[in-house]
Symmetry: D2
Subunit: 288 residues, 4 copies
């Protein structure tokens, strides 16, 4: 039985390659996580176990997909960044998105019991959706990352105050919401401090800054060169020698993938870690 | 801290709605499953435990996403069909694909231990990629389904003969490959029968036909009406009354989601189950 | 000097093929035609010379692109329909749109002086923009055509009444607009008849119905078969024999391309001209 | 008669906005211009009248669409560049392409008689197709422009030698083609010089370099600043004050649109005309 009669249906597959020479961000989000969080009694306003599980899954994704240069996570979302010269899966959007979403989900489910030993998973299981977005310039990419981190800050300050009012102030959600309506950051800081003696600045960095995941090499002195300009001048997929690619691959495999809670809005983070934008592996730090 | 300065990055998100009034097929495939199968010592040519796990995950997907009308699986792939009037997630491709891939993966990992109790999963974990394709007409959709089932048949006949030659015939893979080169179906049937007394027709249906997953209502007498023509005349998303939608929803929730191993190429399968193309729930069968 | 160094820029060209087995409608619209019409003193509410020029350009487009099966025009817009099996230019959207827009514009400018002998064209010249839209089913296509013809009717009834109020009733545009606000069709018919003794039904068909352009073969008796169903069953680009294609090509070349002002909403128009949906040339009418 | 019943067909229009913050190049090409050139007996290897007509049409396009910053033409093709911050027509691809193609065609047909006074146009009329491509970085854009100019050079050297062999050398096309097969630039230069005493360097610039069309302001001293880096740092559509936009608009309207035949591969061209990349109008030159 020849299959040729039906094979014409392959013509209906439409190409979805992403524009070359642009940074590809795949952001995934938990589906229905409000309900999910309540089912498993996540702590409010932040559940460290849940955040650590997200980052553990993100680390696994980065480990399986070395083309990802950096990831940033907050709450039930994670953004993964492919370097603008990346040609993985010929830059096909559905392939990039589905691979990340699937790998992330697999680890999230698999690692669940290590993070929530007392709450076995049961259907409906946690799942994530995702999408890919292209950013043409380093500035666009950094603005995207800043956008997510500012969002983290805004939401965390709100949630911290909201739950303090409820958990410490003894009012209910409706009252808490009402008393926060129209307030500015300064007002919330003031409420926390004056009512509950909480200095927001002393809150854990993981809650205030979210989580940055990247391969760790030796940081460089900032200001020695303008990495962004160098990177903008890369106009096409870099044609590396095979031996160079192999060297890079090995260096990447050796580098530790770390989860940090740092400011990624200011220049310093990027200046000290030029490999994040250049995609050239740095120097592996000596063991102490 | 206002976020408005960075929010412009949202403008880079490009729409990816699929053309209305077309059947949407999301096909997912195991990533690197040759290696994965060998790591967990899947039986050759078919591992029933692995196929059952795939179908269990597919059933869970269909249960969580009632908009899917039918799914078809073979080996490490599964195709999920959304009715042409479906407007789930505004028909956004990345949302449809990532949700299916993620849900499928979650159940695959979660249900693994029930199907492979003696082989605990360890990294790298199983994962799947996926893509969405639009088919404008019923004929296109049925040809797609036929394409996958013919593929199942061709591959299974080949694999059955190939592994018989190795497992029963005692030759190695290279020799087996050589002796099958250029053969037709009839030749392979002949080899199986004359050399190994295997009548291919008696092989299990799950291996020969793959797995069809659908909601089960009472079959109808075929030939009473032309369902395909009726469906082609549906030109736009059906505006149902709220109470009708609610009724449909309840009927769907009551219907059992079954996994069968039937011929989906011939008309009979579709004629007897008009709800697959019409998207109108049928009659719930009486309990025996 | 080798060009290879720069040739990588071709990789940035992204594919834009339209989904197979769907009807492709390219609609073009005059750019800034309110101003253009006033510059060349088009008659109000309809300028027959301008409409005839549009249709003459549309006929020329259909003559140069035999893949177009039917076109429909009203005011400064024209819609061109490619049969769902059409594979012209590999169905690339930009190629289809730009070719139609360019050919139409060329003839519009070239034929201008024949239709407006006393008003030579001067910059800024007339121009058109266009876009392609896919329609999966015959019903969708017919609904598109109906949409345009209903629009023609609604606008023409409004404009006829509006300009009667001004030209015959002696009121100004603001007053005319005010007196039509909130009126229904019946009201406008009534105004025309009672105030100006105009029976809208007696207005010229070209104004009420717009213009349909198609290749003319001998009409058939309606009701002999269901052409829409036959066409829906066409699932893929038809693989014709070369000699059949050649015969079709010759028949098409012989057929007169006519401009008519008919109802295209009712079935009769389509039933009597099965070639419009089937794309099989009909019988060339005998010369009288 | 309400139109609502059919209006659902508008949902089938799919968005086609081009990625923000990228340079948009719309390239148009003559359709069937080999045949067209022969019908109107274009001179070989270059017809100055035809090239001037192309550039006259391109100038008209730039004059009607001030968002275009530069255009480059060779033979029967022209490329138009929109600045990466441009938001014209919301960056819809079909709108940008069809508007340029239509405007270009209108002027090409309209201006024909001024350039070919002795050859009136007759059907089939000249027409053009077009497509839009996005380039993320200044380097990509300049490489695109270089690609076209190198192509111009390669083709012109070939054609000049080819036609010299025929027109001056008295051999036929087949022989000429054969004698050029596998030759390098140096070989062709040598053939021209030794056989026909033609120094290719002395050929007219319009043939060797093609035509660059741009708004002319006072050139600046190169090297005073790095315009490319400044432009890369523009990350989003520039929010200008209304009065600034108005000033820019007026300056642009005052600037002469010139057609030059310059090297656009080397830095100098771009360094001396920073407005081409910055999109900020320069200083209007004093009249002499």
């Amino acid at each position: 039985m020849a299959n040729s009669k039906f094979e014409y249906v392959k013509q209906f597959e439409q190409p979805d390659q992403l524009l070359p020479n642009t940074w590809v961000v795949v952001r995934i989000d938990g589906r229905g996580f409000t309900k999910f969080a309540s089912k498993y009694e996540f702590e409010k306003p932040n559940d460290k176990r849940a955040l650590d599980l997200m980052s553990a899954a993100a680390r696994a994704v980065m480990s399986e997909l070395p083309d990802i240069t950096i990831a940033y996570g907050v709450s039930d979302e994670y953004s993964f960044v492919f370097h603008k010269t990346c040609t993985l899966f010929e830059r096909r959007a559905s392939k990039l998105v589905s691979t990340i979403v699937s790998t992330f989900t697999a680890y999230y489910v698999h690692l669940w019991s290590a993070h929530f030993p007392d709450s076995p998973l049961s259907p409906p299981l946690p799942s994530f959706d995702g999408r890919a977005v292209c950013y043409p310039s380093v500035q666009n990419l950094r603005d995207y990352m800043s956008w997510r981190q500012v969002d983290c800050h805004i939401n965390n300050l709100y949630n911290t105050t909201f739950w303090a009012l409820i958990q410490l102030g003894g009012i209910d959600a409706t009252e808490a919401e009402k008393s926060l309506k129209g307030t500015y950051s300064a007002d919330k800081n003031e409420i926390l401090f004056s009512k509950f003696h909480i200095n927001y600045n002393n809150e854990p960095e993981i809650f205030k800054k979210g989580s940055v995941v990247f391969r760790d090499y030796e940081p460089v002195e900032p200001g020695t060169h303008n990495i962004a300009h160098e990177v903008e001048n890369l106009a096409e997929p870099v044609a590396q020698s095979k031996s160079q690619s192999e060297k890079d691959r090995k260096k990447r495999a050796k580098a530790a993938i770390v989860v940090e809670h740092l400011d990624i809005i200011k220049d310093e983070f990027w200046d000290r870690r030029p490999w994040l934008l250049s995609n050239k592996p740095g120097k592996i730090p000596k063991e102490p």
